[in-house]
């Protein structure tokens, strides 16, 4: 084997991929060129296993200004404004070095959004950790939460939502998915394109160091015992510099000097320059010795592959050099012209005047391998889906209820979100802890409603339906506060795609997202794929995380989930079926993950959401809450304890279901509403008139939650269990 070929393999390329490179170049690459190819063709940058399927996702709609393919997606919200958003994973680095991994995950997604010209107005984070009692979990939880807070708080961007779930399937591969939403004038959107022959290419932001070299390659492989040794591939964050970069870029965007801009994220200078040239069909010439360096003795290879943070590549109009420099001087940021746009279609790299790389841009950016990997339904699926509900022992219902409410998956995550600044910018009308966050748009009557999440257990049992449920539920959350779902971003976290059963999960999940987005009319405008979330051959639950953005035209017409008034009538919209497959109850009380994910009728889902939004618009709902994990029991508990003050309720569940099933079933397309007594009949009649099942459950009031014949517990105790269930498990790890 040639030296370069074995080098290629050590960089994560396959032997046949190396052959293809040699064929494309007409010669063997040198070391720097090979480094560039290896990161551009890594799974992380090229989506080579997933591209064949991502194209199936719906990406268009009248509200879409920019779909996938740019740094982030853009959706019109009227009034000449648009929201820019994207979700991205930082899973592998966060497991290796939780603080920096999570921090730079936040930093990266923020850059993706402000690169487009938008000021970030909200962050959300979706975290998946191993079992709460796994020895590493408290350490990882603490590190990740501190890292997210450390970065986001400093940036002055409120962290308003997200979710956190625990399951043993994430023991060796945690998930850290970060989402940023930005606000931009619809006519001032900037893109990552390097056009205009002769235009200068500026490097701005932090100096380049040796951190994160081959981070993208690391994120494209499984973990093994040697993972700890990968720490040098993790980047180090500097939120202060990013804050300066943000303000300086927004100042730059006020001018008309910018031709194109892209942040240096995964694969750093390589991917930013090659992608920008690729999109424009142009060439680039760069002098790497001009790149600001953090240390001496760095090589062109290191400069091209470093993933040092807080850097941007900007192409500006010829002659604008001085004006651009003035802006970055004000913010004390490096700003250096390192090259220019050419017409050659080639990337020509120089080092002290000598050409050290000469590559055709097209193949690098567009001709990465694209695999149609084989996929096959796993043989074990029938076994895990089998669940004989009748054979489950009937637990003590009060005890089961206590366990579910205090489970770290259900319990309040205040311990996490009080470590995040969720109020800065003074737009947070509803912060973390509700069904969806509500962030007001200053200068208008509008607000955006934001929700993100995914139930990995459902996706494990039924990836297609689980993925569709993730879309449906985030939309349901947005509707619960009165918002109209607009569009999604996704972050598809899976195991090793070279295994047919993992690839099957991926392909199925794409189908599920497609079906749900089609019916709910929420196209996918941006996204990210994270594969190889696997350690020693054991993959995570498939977790296609969904970030949903919705719009409230009038921020005054919104609801929260907590009961607000004694005597209000509690209504259930939707119906409860015998569906405890994959439920929190089954896991927490019976120690099992089995059965099938709940059914999902998307037409029904859409109708239920429309109905609830109408009731909110008409001012008849005093509260609205989506029924999800933990079923009616958990939802009622949350309604009782999350209002301005705790309130009891007396409820009666009718029907032929087993009591535990009735309490904890996770049937979809359900809401609990509380309405003033005088409106109850009208709301029920309205539901009947549009063919939706709706029933009167009971009334708000008293100091206990009474579910007749099943549960009778003081609200104060529920409050205590729910508020402390999480902190009790993780406070210990604070100093660990």
């Amino acid at each position: 084997m040639s030296d370069m070929r074995s080098q290629a393999i050590s960089f994560g390329l396959k032997s046949e991929e190396y052959d293809r490179i040699v064929e494309l170049m007409g010669r063997e690459p040198n070391f720097t060129e090979l480094g560039i190819y290896s990161v551009m063709w890594s799974e992380h940058c090229s989506y080579k296993s997933s591209r064949a399927h991502l194209g199936k996702l719906p990406t268009e709609g009248p509200q879409v200004i920019q779909g996938p393919g740019e740094n982030a997606g853009v959706v019109d919200i009227g009034d000449g404004l648009a929201v820019v958003f994207k979700m991205e994973s930082h899973n592998h680095p966060s497991y290796i070095e939780p603080y920096q991994g999570a921090a730079t995950g936040v930093g990266g997604i923020l850059r993706d959004v402000f690169t487009m010209g938008a000021r970030p107005i909200a962050n959300l984070n979706n975290l998946r950790f191993g079992a709460p009692d796994h020895p590493k979990t408290p350490y990882l939880v603490n590190g990740v939460v501190h890292g997210i807070g450390g970065y986001g708080n400093c940036m002055g961007v409120p962290t308003v939502g997200g979710d956190t779930q625990f399951d043993a399937s994430y023991n060796g591969n945690i998930l850290v998915n970060a989402m940023t939403v930005g606000l931009v004038r619809a006519d001032r959107i900037f893109k990552g394109t390097a056009s205009g022959v002769g235009n200068p290419i500026f490097y701005i932001g932090s100096k380049t160091g040796r951190d994160g070299i081959h981070g993208a390659t690391m994120a494209s492989a499984e973990f093994s015992e040697e993972t700890e040794s990968k720490r040098p591939t993790v980047q180090v964050g500097d939120p202060f510099t990013e804050k300066l970069l943000l303000e300086a870029c927004l100042e730059l965007f006020e001018t008309d000097l910018v031709v194109g801009i892209q942040d240096m994220g995964a694969a750093g200078l390589t991917s930013s320059s090659m992608e920008m040239a690729g999109r424009a069909g142009s060439g680039i010439r760069m002098h790497l010795d001009r790149v600001p360096m953090r240390e001496e003795g760095m090589t062109p290879y290191e400069l091209m592959l470093s993933e040092s943070q807080e850097r941007m590549l900007v192409v500006v109009r010829q002659g604008a050099e001085d004006e651009v420099k003035k802006i970055f001087d004000k913010w004390d940021l490096d700003c250096v012209a390192i090259g220019e746009v050419t017409e050659t279609g080639r990337a020509e790299l120089f080092w002290h005047g000598e050409q050290i790389a000469d590559l055709e841009v097209g193949p690098l950016a567009d001709e990465a391998p694209k695999y149609n990997r084989p996929y096959e339904r796993p043989a074990w699926l029938d076994e895990v889906r089998a669940l004989d509900v009748a054979s489950l022992p009937m637990p003590d219902l009060d005890e089961a209820f206590r366990k579910v409410v205090a489970s770290p998956n259900i319990a309040s995550k205040e311990w996490i979100f009080r470590q995040y600044d969720h109020m800065v910018q003074t737009n947070t009308v509803q912060g973390p802890g509700g069904d969806a966050a509500v962030v007001r748009i200053k200068g208008t009557s509008k607000a955006v409603a934001l929700s993100s999440g995914c139930n990995g257990r459902y996706c494990y049992l039924n990836p297609r339906r689980g993925a569709a449920i993730a879309v449906a539920e985030t939309a349901r959350n947005v509707s619960a506060v009165g918002g109209r779902p607009l569009a999604i971003t996704d972050c598809l976290n899976f195991g090793n795609p070279e295994r047919p059963e993992i690839m099957w999960q991926f392909v199925e999940a794409i189908e599920g997202i497609r079906e749900a987005c089609d019916v709910l009319e929420t196209p996918v405008v941006s996204g990210n794929v994270s594969l190889y979330n696997e350690t020693n051959g054991v993959g995570i639950y498939p977790t296609p995380m969904i970030g949903m953005v919705g719009l409230l035209d009038d921020v005054e017409k919104r609801t929260a989930q907590g009961f607000a008034n004694d005597g209000d009538v509690i209504l259930l919209i939707g119906e409860t079926l015998e569906e405890i497959g994959g439920s929190e109850y089954l896991q927490v009380v019976h120690g099992r993950v089995a059965g099938d994910a709940p059914q999902l009728n998307l037409i029904r889902e859409k109708a239920v959401q429309q109905f609830v939004r109408d009731v909110i618009q008409e001012g008849q709902a005093r509260s609205a809450h989506d029924v999800s994990e933990g079923g009616l029991a958990a939802a009622l508990a949350e309604c009782c304890i999350t209002g301005a003050e705790p309130r009891g309720a007396t409820v009666r569940l009718e029907g032929g279901l087993r009591p535990d099933v009735h309490l904890f079933s996770e049937s979809q397309s359900r809401y609990i509403l509380s309405v003033p007594a005088i409106h109850a009949k009208r709301v029920l009649d309205k539901a009947a008139s549009v063919g939706l099942p709706a029933s009167r459950l009971g009334t708000v009031g008293g100091s206990r939650l009474v579910i007749e014949g099943m549960i009778d517990i003081p609200v104060a105790e529920i409050n205590h269990l729910w508020r402390n269930g999480f902190a009790q498990v993780f406070e210990q790890g604070t100093h660990g």
Binding site: H146, G150, G156, F240, K243, L244, D332, V424, T734
Partner: protein
């Protein structure tokens, strides 16, 4: 009355303060930290955030900024200066207020709504409150744990310079209601001349009816009608 809101690299509540001042109908402008004049301004606000990344020590680098010399002169002339959160930290570093702010006892950032007792109303910033009034304001900081030597504390108490204290809903100064470990539950103080305020809670975040709380306006509005204090 014209307000100036200082902007350091890393300030991130500058816009929130700016908006609050606009909400109370007063003219306001940003003052970049490299400026050297506060001419034409009647009140200076040092906003929250992470000036210079809070690297080294919160406020330690900001106090070296060119504008701070002018802020010292402005304060010495008896004009009102309001430091919020990081602004409070900067003012203690700059020696305009006594004591220091160190890491929260929990070693965690804390962001939540917090009850405060207005412990002294004899200042331009607090005279619109009732003495002993309990109000709610957001806190959001990692280093809000106020410390001072016993002599300084005694002086603060004797001179009535402690204006806000963390408390529970009934106004009791309990350890449980103290979010960061501050000595004597101190949340905000004024200087001896009563024209410089430093407070960790954010009046700039509770000045908008849509967010459900407008009590923070009083801190700013107080300055407008300070005559007679």
């Amino acid at each position: 009355m014209k307000f100036g809101v200082l902007v350091f690299p890393g300030s991130n509540c500058d816009a929130d303060c700016f908006n609050t001042i606009e909400q109370i109908g007063q003219p306001v402008r940003y003052v970049w930290h490299k400026e050297t004049s506060l001419r034409g301004l009647d009140c200076v606000v040092v906003p929250g955030g992470f000036s210079f990344g809070d690297y080294l020590r919160c406020g330690a680098i900001a106090k070296q900024s060119p504008i701070m010399e002018e802020v010292r002169r402005f304060a010495a002339a008896g004009r009102p200066v309001i430091g919020i959160c990081n602004g409070f930290q900067i003012l203690t570093e700059a020696g305009l207020l006594p004591g220091a702010l160190i890491s929260n006892q929990s070693l965690q950032f804390v962001c939540k709504n917090q009850y405060l007792r207005v412990s002294n109303t004899r200042s331009p910033f607090t005279h619109l409150f009732r003495n002993g009034e309990v109000v709610e304001m957001p806190v959001a900081h990692h280093d809000g744990n106020y410390v001072a030597d016993p002599g300084t504390l005694k002086e603060l108490e004797d001179e009535g310079q402690i204006v806000f204290q963390y408390c529970d809903a009934e106004g009791r100064l309990t350890p449980e209601s103290n979010p960061n470990g501050s000595v004597n539950n101190i949340a905000g103080i004024i200087n001896r001349s009563r024209n410089v305020l430093g407070m960790m809670p954010h009046p700039d975040r509770c000045a908008d009816a849509l967010l459900g709380n407008t009590v923070g306006r009083k801190v700013f509005e107080g300055v407008l009608s300070k005559v007679g204090i």
